[in-house]
């Protein structure tokens, strides 16, 4: 029986449960003996010119080894914006002339003992000539963050002048709404950190919690102006990433630079306060959605206008709206759809990837649009979805935005989710509660989504990943992967794939990753790419290893390779019809290393899809929403290990619901973050979420032999709009059409009041 598709318990769990993972903070390594500790002085103001930095008092403080400012780091190149954006919007590793967000590193204080760091930070004197903060999506004022750029608009995806004025001509129903996809904090439980040392051979070894050691290595080498092979990056256990632990953050470069400048190992440990203002935030888009169609529910036209707040510097904010735009029409067949995205800079923490990275924003906009359209036309939102979803397809489908969907069966996904939720009964109960005028009203929210996983590296080259598989003489095996697990369970999953081919039990297979000396190439783990690319590479390497072994075994037995049968139960070849002529893999490995490295290249990205049904209750006297149920179909092709796939879905659903209901990074009008600790940032807890109801669904992709698509982000893509729609639906009969996320008690209450007084909801005062 195949091990694939079974609920194999994680092999990584015993060590996490008994000794704990070894995160960067836990590292004990003799190369780090005598390490200095780096503390970053961060800007307390949102926008200011730095007129002077006085480090003299700090240098006198006990234990202070050195204090570095931007001027000391002049040899480090500025960091250009990501994507085709204003080239003058450059970032420095430590601020030089200006600071542009609260939390921007201004100086690095280096101490012998961590306890001395916080005290010494206070002694660095910085004169800030404070400038007005730049907040919101389109401030329309003349304060510029980058004077050389002459604008706060970093760039565009699509051309606004190409939007068609007649797009909605002929539509019987047209609805438009401006909505906010608010800024949230990725907040992995392990914040960032680093440990770096330069060897006598002039090589840097850097331990950094990251989602992709190889990409980080390249970036560090470029910035530190050394050859790529002079840098070794090791990712220890990583306590969650969610997209925010990709790439060479300025702090990592500075710590590595300091280790070189001082000739001593250096460590950095980020506090949660630093993490909530210094690590990239996610989302931060504003959408103006316009949707039109016939009164009987045929959607004929849709326009999505995006404003991406990139934060103070254009990191992933430069390309995230490109992905949003690519997924504008989602799973629907909309004859006329168009989209344009503007990227702006603001005096806030830079935006980066966060679970879903650009696709949840597209899905949130579209699912709100469908609900607004349904409400305006007086139709059931499930019927509108069913009527407009693309019919099942097994050959790739090209959208008007250029995305090539591999396989999909959206209508079946919708129906299965509705059936599992008991949709008709829910609507009946809703009607009864409304008729009775209950205080606790019921809402049902839907999201039908399609998303992109396993994207390629660039034009012309298909997405790819490498793997090595080696069988050892003692009957164990080792896999090297270019993926970078940080909770996803690759140790178990990759071992299952190899075990299926080699017959070696999972517990005898070891996975190694995240050491660039051992694995120089790799794309890491992000964008839900790992299984379909990295897992496929493990399968391919295992199969190639069997073929290599077959040739060797045939030579040994003086037999025709085609006559050899590989017996997985014995991990050995034998000649068909002659069970005594046996050559085990271990014997071959003893004679000569039995090792295969291979690269799997897929034809393109895959497109998982599904439908989420959320059920929420709202107390209409207080506005308090309670999430009762989330029922989901998340079809990511063939499921390798249901335990792991469900875990990924749960996590995504939880984070999506958190964005819909509670979480938001908030700044005041001067650009001060008001959510800079876990006491202030409303991180979702167990009490705010229900258990989730998962429906199985497997529509294989043809893009890899495993038939798998990515499942890491889907949960957050469907649940965010489903939960938001459910809460709004609970008060829809009171005249409420839209409430921005997070849909908190206060906002629900205000929306009810506004609807009852036939007024618009109060304008949002916070920057979001």
């Amino acid at each position: 029986m195949s091990i694939l598709g079974t609920r194999v318990l994680r092999t990584e769990d015993p060590r996490f449960l008994t000794r704990g993972g070894v995160y960067v903070e836990d590292l004990v390594d003799e190369r780090l003996t005598g390490a200095v500790h780096v503390f970053f002085l961060r800007s307390p103001v949102a926008h200011a010119r730095i007129s002077n930095i006085d480090t003299s008092a700090a240098l006198e403080a006990p234990g202070v080894v050195a204090v570095f400012t931007g001027a000391d780091l002049a040899d480090l190149p500025p960091i250009p914006p990501t994507g085709p954006m204003q080239p003058a919007m450059q970032e420095r590793q430590l601020a030089t002339d200006k600071v542009r967000f609260v939390g921007e590193p201004v100086a690095a204080v280096v101490v012998e003992d961590p306890y001395q760091g916080e005290d010494a930070l206070e002694l660095v004197g910085v004169d800030y000539d404070v400038l007005p903060a730049v907040l919101g999506y389109d401030p329309g004022d003349d304060t510029l963050l980058f004077e050389d750029a002459g604008t706060n608009v970093a760039g565009w995806w699509g051309k606004p002048e190409e939007l068609k004025p007649d797009l909605f001509d002929g539509c019987e129903v047209v609805v438009s709404q401006t909505i906010v996809n608010q800024r949230v904090a990725p907040a992995p439980m392990e914040s960032r950190g680093a440990a770096a040392v330069w060897g006598e051979d002039g090589r840097l070894t850097a331990w950094i919690p990251n989602q992709g050691a190889q990409g980080l290595k390249g970036a560090l080498a470029r910035m530190l102006a050394v050859e790529s092979d002079q840098v070794r990056v090791i990712t220890p256990d990583v306590g969650g990433g969610f997209g925010a632990k990709f790439g060479a953050d300025p702090e990592y470069v500075v710590v590595s630079w300091i280790a070189r400048a001082l000739g001593r190992p250096a460590r950095w440990s980020e506090t949660r306060y630093e993490n909530l203002i210094g690590m990239t935030h996610g989302r931060a888009q504003q959408h103006t959605i316009t949707i039109g169609g016939s009164r009987d529910g045929d959607v004929q036209a849709y326009r999505l206008e995006i404003v991406q707040d990139a934060g103070a510097y254009v990191r992933a904010g430069g390309f995230l709206p490109m992905l949003t735009r690519l997924m504008t029409s989602g799973p629907y067949d909309i004859p006329r759809a168009e989209s344009v995205a503007k990227v702006v800079v603001t005096s806030t923490t830079p935006i980066g990837a966060y679970r879903g990275a650009g696709r949840p924003e597209a899905s949130a906009a579209l699912d709100r649009a469908i609900d607004l359209f349904a409400a305006e036309a007086g139709l059931d939102p499930a019927d509108v979805r069913r009527k407009n979803l693309l019919p099942k397809f097994t050959e790739p489908h090209r959208t008007a935005f250029g995305a090539l969907y591999d396989t999909g069966d959206y209508i079946t996904g919708l129906q299965r989710a509705l059936d599992a939720a008991g949709y008709a009964d829910l609507r009946k109960e809703q009607a009864e509660r409304r008729a009775r005028g209950d205080v606790r009203q019921l809402g049902i929210g839907l999201s039908s989504y399609v998303e992109i996983t396993g994207m390629g590296e660039g034009e012309g080259s298909g997405p790819n990943e490498n793997a090595s598989v080696e069988v050892h003489p003692d009957g164990t095996a080792t896999i090297l992967t270019g993926t970078s697990p940080h909770g996803q369970g690759h140790e178990t999953a990759w071992a299952m794939i190899a075990s299926e081919e080699l017959g070696i039990p999972v517990e005898k297979i070891t996975l190694k990753w995240g050491d660039t000396d051992l694995i120089p190439q790799g794309g890491g783990t992000g964008g839900s790419r790992s299984l379909q690319l990295g897992g496929s590479a493990v399968q391919q390497a295992s199969q190639e290893l069997i073929e290599e072994a077959r040739q060797r075994a045939a030579a040994q037995l003086e037999a025709n390779p085609a006559d050899l049968v590989f017996d997985k139960s014995r991990t050995a070849f034998n000649v068909a019809g002659d069970p005594d002529a046996v050559v085990p893999l271990t014997q071959l490995a003893e004679q000569e290393r039995l090792l295969i490295r291979t690269v799997f290249t897929g034809p393109g990205a895959t497109f998982p899809f599904g439908t989420h049904v959320a059920v929420a209750e709202v107390d209409i006297e207080t506005g308090k929403p309670t999430l009762l149920r989330v029922v989901t179909v998340d079809d990511a092709g063939v499921v390798l290990n249901p335990l792991l796939a469900e875990g990924q879905r749960h996590g995504g659903i939880g984070q999506g619901a958190a964005q819909a209901m509670v979480e938001e990074v908030v700044y005041d009008e001067e650009g001060n973050p008001l959510t800079a600790s876990f006491a202030d940032y409303p991180f979702v807890s167990a009490t705010e979420l229900p258990s989730f109801e998962l429906v199985d669904s497997e529509t294989p992709t043809t893009y890899n032999p495993l038939g798998v698509k990515g499942i890491g982000e889907a949960g957050s893509i469907g649940s965010t709009p489903a939960v938001q729609n459910a809460i709004i639906d609970a008060v829809a009969h009171l005249g409420v059409r839209h409430i921005d996320m997070p849909v908190t008690s206060r906002r629900v209450w205000q929306a009810i009041q506004a609807a009852q007084h036939r007024q618009e909801p109060p304008a949002r005062t916070e920057n979001a």
């Binding site: 318990l9 439980m189 600790s677 876990f678």
Partner: protein, 158 residues
């Protein structure tokens, strides 16, 4: 410096510590028990949860000197003869952990919760773990693990 005497995972300890030393730093830096993690600076996340005389506490908000004369248990001390504790086993069986960072604290909070309430409902389990954050699991499988561990412990007559 102040002398503290306590038992950690059943082992008697006597150490000179600075009065300001936090229990979590004592465990991690002095004793090298690094399973217990620090996840925030406001006693909000619970990654540092340990048992102090059988009750769960956040060890980032307890001074090492306050633990003197008491018994501290961390996840390293739960395992007996190489066998996972029923709570640890339930977390594995139910895939109640992913990145592992919140796990030692989550496990200890669960042990503390089940000591106080051996048969929690799902709502009580969620309430009991409100002070322990997890970013990976959406709490779904953690709650499954808590309820399963309660059943196992009942079966074991504890």
């Amino acid at each position: 410096m102040t002398r503290i005497e306590l038992a950690v995972n059943g082992e008697k300890r006597s150490d000179e510590v600075e009065p300001r030393l936090l229990l979590v730093h004592y465990l991690r830096e002095v004793l090298g028990l690094r399973a217990t993690n620090v996840g925030c600076d406001t006693t909000s996340c619970g990654a540092c949860t340990v048992l102090l005389d059988g009750k769960s506490v956040k060890s980032c908000t307890v001074l090492a000197v306050q633990a003197s004369g008491q018994e501290v248990t961390t996840t390293e001390g739960l395992t007996r003869d190489g066998e996972l504790h029923p709570v640890q086993a339930a977390f594995r069986q139910n895939h109640g952990l992913q990145c592992g960072f919140c796990t030692p604290g989550m496990v200890m909070a669960t042990v503390g919760l089940l000591a106080e309430n051996p048969h929690p409902t799902e709502a009580e389990a969620r309430q009991g773990l409100e002070g322990n954050f997890c970013r990976c699991t959406g709490y779904h499988n953690i709650i499954r693990a808590v309820l399963a561990a309660a059943d196992t412990l009942e079966g074991a007559g504890e």
